[in-house]
């Protein structure tokens, strides 16, 4: 016998299912007006005062057959334009950093309107290239999938996460392509050719 470890185990995940929007995005589910204030409808507290460049990222979540999923729900979390996370000292008071958005039920396309994040220094002073963290859930996804959006017009060469990807062509799966001024395209592929790099962090 050994001493007992006084540590708990995380609660196991279950799929968010086909009706996740009822719980997290009631207006999208057709139940508008349920709450006085819905959570995560925009990452802005006051878009007109937010610091930095406002950008729009458009994309789809594709399943292993190449079908753009109509029921994917995504959450984003990011720092502000100066690389400061909401809640930290000096953070942009007009920016909340968190957003919920869903694939369109007709087209399967999502849009995230937000500020372009800055770079920041993490533990040990290591600098990360600007990125937005994503968490993808849907029917058939048994545990939420974490990934990141980087930007093709930023300096990504020294990013500690991108540099851990052995197969260099796969780095591109995490990099949003600039389509116009302030506009980017970022597709997520759950499986198969061009499969997005998902994270265990």
């Amino acid at each position: 016998m050994v001493q007992k470890l006084d540590v708990l185990q995380e609660t196991p995940s279950q799929t968010a299912g086909p009706y996740v929007h009822i719980g997290l995005m009631p207006t999208y589910a057709g139940n508008g007006g349920y709450y006085d204030e819905e959570i995560g409808t925009t990452p802005f507290i006051d878009e007109s005062k937010a610091r930095g460049e406002i950008i729009e990222i458009v994309g789809s979540v594709f399943d292993g057959t190449g079908w753009a999923m109509r029921d994917a729900l995504i959450e984003s979390w990011q720092c502000d334009a100066k690389g400061i996370f909401p809640g930290q000292d000096g953070a942009d008071p007009s920016f909340a950093g968190h957003c919920r958005f869903a694939a369109d039920a007709e087209t399967g396309e999502f849009t995230l309107r937000t500020v372009k994040p800055g770079s920041y220094k993490g533990r040990g002073g290591v600098e990360s290239a600007p990125h937005i963290s994503l968490w993808v859930v849907a029917r058939g996804i048994n545990i939420g999938l974490n990934t990141r959006i980087y930007f093709e017009d930023e300096k990504n060469d020294d990013d500690p996460l991108l540099n851990r990807i052995e197969q260099r062509p796969r780095v591109n799966t995490l990099i949003a392509k600039k389509t116009d001024e302030g506009k980017y395209r970022f597709d997520i592929r759950l499986q198969g050719e061009g499969e997005t790099v998902f994270l265990d962090i």
């Binding site: 006084d6 708990l8 279950q14 720092c79 930290q88 968490w135 545990i143 759950l190 265990d200």
Partner: protein
């Protein structure tokens, strides 16, 4: 700012397999390639905060919140309650807990749900609350019905409530489902069966809790939730090389 240390790496063995042919939809929606593992960074260690000011008084009362208190929902009245803790056993206070569920007949208020069981005009099916300083939360709701779903030819979901929790770090984000003690359908459900270790599945089954039941009003079910913790040691705060 004090460094609380990185998140404790996720023990994926307790979680469902992403690819599980018994749950057909997972077949084309699960990554083939291994996940990229890395120690957590500020992107995963920070997270959104939600204030009590965002919430309405009836947000955690699903019996009344759809009608704004005008008329109660049909069904077996229950209190769902418990604590949100982290892996170190510490309570997680002031964190958002959201739930959604079918009505007492097993029907969701969603345009994609066409099951025979009728909608209850007095039931919307979602609620939310923020844990108190001890990590405690509660919801008043009705027990959801079981319902059939398109998977294999005759699959039924056991009674369940979906739960979404944030914690204080984006890397703690978790969605799961609560099942009910004694439900014979749990053993037949392909979604429950995505968790391969039965002792882990048992952790999603809420026991009947008479200590919180209110006589002549509602039964109670207790459901504690554990989120990932942080690996702080006395070495974490020392300068590199010390």
């Amino acid at each position: 700012m004090t460094d609380l240390g990185p998140l404790i790496p996720r023990n994926r063995a307790i979680h469902p397999d992403p690819y599980d042919p018994g749950y057909k939809t997972s077949v084309a929606r699960s990554p083939n390639l291994p996940l990229l593992s890395m120690e957590s960074t500020p992107s995963e260690e920070t997270g959104p905060a939600f204030g009590h000011g965002t919430l309405g008084a009836l947000d955690n009362n699903l019996i009344l919140n759809w009608t704004k208190g005008a008329a109660p929902a049909v069904g077996e009245r229950i209190l769902m309650h418990g604590r949100v803790l982290d892996e170190m056993g510490r309570p997680v206070p002031n964190t958002l807990v959201e739930i959604w569920q079918a009505n007492a007949g097993g029907r969701y208020r969603h345009k994609k749900d066409t099951y025979f069981a009728p909608l209850d005009p007095n039931f919307g099916g979602c609620g939310r609350t923020i844990t108190d300083e001890n990590g405690y939360y509660e919801f008043l709701t009705v027990r959801p019905g079981a319902y059939p779903w398109p998977n294999r030819a005759n699959d039924w979901r056991p009674m369940h409530i979906h739960i979404s929790v944030y914690g204080h770090s984006f890397g703690q984000r978790l969605i799961t489902q609560m099942y009910f003690e004694g439900d014979p359908l749990i053993a037949h459900c392909p979604i429950a069966a995505t968790i391969k270790d039965r002792s882990q599945l048992d952790r999603l089954v809420a026991p009947l809790d008479f200590s919180k039941s209110r006589p002549l009003d509602f039964l109670a079910y207790k459901f504690d939730i554990v989120l990932r913790g942080r690996r702080q040691t006395m070495f974490e705060n020392k300068l590199e090389g010390m």
